[in-house]
Assembly symmetry: C3
Homo-oligomer: 139 residues x 3
């Protein structure tokens, strides 16, 4: 059984920036010795999330629209009042989606659909440098 950890550095613009990390994750899987196992992709921090989507401009626009509708930015969130912050909505959106994702590795490849990309969504209200963890486990 092998275990490989690596990181991906990304610079986001914040404000529901959807960042495709599929190529970097798959590059790490392909250079690892793991042919069958699990890859966990995780973004430390309480205002970003990891999920999958079809990464195309229309869908990115739709994601921004639906998150603004479900969890609006311009609300008197208690988090903002307490801390003088303006990113209460960012925290809530991140908690809803979740900070990590685990996908199977089969025959040396991440098992995903052709139109399904692994994305980090940065919900924070400002640009951020993010370090994404990639943990590959298997044999």
């Amino acid at each position: 059984m092998a275990l490989v950890h690596c990181t991906i550095r990304i610079q986001t613009t914040g404000d529901c920036d959807v960042h495709d990390v599929t190529e970097e994750v798959e590059e790490q899987v392909s250079v690892s010795p793991v042919k069958c196992g699990v890859v966990t992709v995780s973004v430390p921090g309480s205002t970003a999330a990891v999920t999958t989507c079809e990464f195309e401009p229309g869908m990115v626009r739709d994601l921004k629209a639906i998150f603004e509708e479900l969890v609006p930015r311009a609300r008197d969130w208690a988090h903002n009042r307490t801390w003088g912050d303006a990113n209460g909505h960012s925290h809530l959106r991140a908690s809803l989606v979740g900070p990590s994702l685990s996908l199977p590795i089969i025959d040396g490849q991440v098992s995903r659909g052709r139109w399904q990309q692994i994305v980090v969504i940065d919900f924070d209200n400002r640009p951020r440098d993010r370090t994404v963890d990639v943990l590959i486990l298997g044999e």
Copy 2:
């Protein structure tokens, strides 16, 4: 440490079809040598998701209702405009819930509540054949 991969084939009706895969997953765990570990259940594709719920007809109806309310089908989603598709809502719902689930295996059994089933939800706007990955890792 042992590693077992298998797949479950399901045919869905689409339109928020909630499909219980608990029995198939647990059958695979029980015939595997793993008594303690993790099982990852994942559905490749950007319009389906994996989560748990109490699988009973009322709850299935409630799930359809809440997803239609939170992410309505009949909206002018940018994804639809760009690609001439009609499943923008399917993609958004799938990204919200997420495409995979990892649960502990304890004493040879998937650790879940009595009324908690593992379900694949197909949000696509048409029937689909889906291949669900089951990855069992432990000892």
Copy 3:
């Protein structure tokens, strides 16, 4: 490769009670032999969920508010009608967030942000005793 399973017992008040389990999870990781790997935190049951958030009173209030807005308690849910229950909303919220979370362990520590705590949210409509599974896998 090492594999450690342990449990955390919590008593919740229900009604979207947000319970910080970070300290207990990290204590278990620190006494385990695992320096690099994955920790899976999971709550059996169909009315509770695991995610991360900044655990502070304002955010806890915001989480209660947003879940009440997205999935209201006082609705004629089919689950309630069928079973004479009053926790249809609890089930739906739990399915949305998901019952488990996997985070990387790097250099012997759970990889998370400074303001990011691991939380169990009990959506049930009454106090519950919950047993949370912690599964540590790595080397």
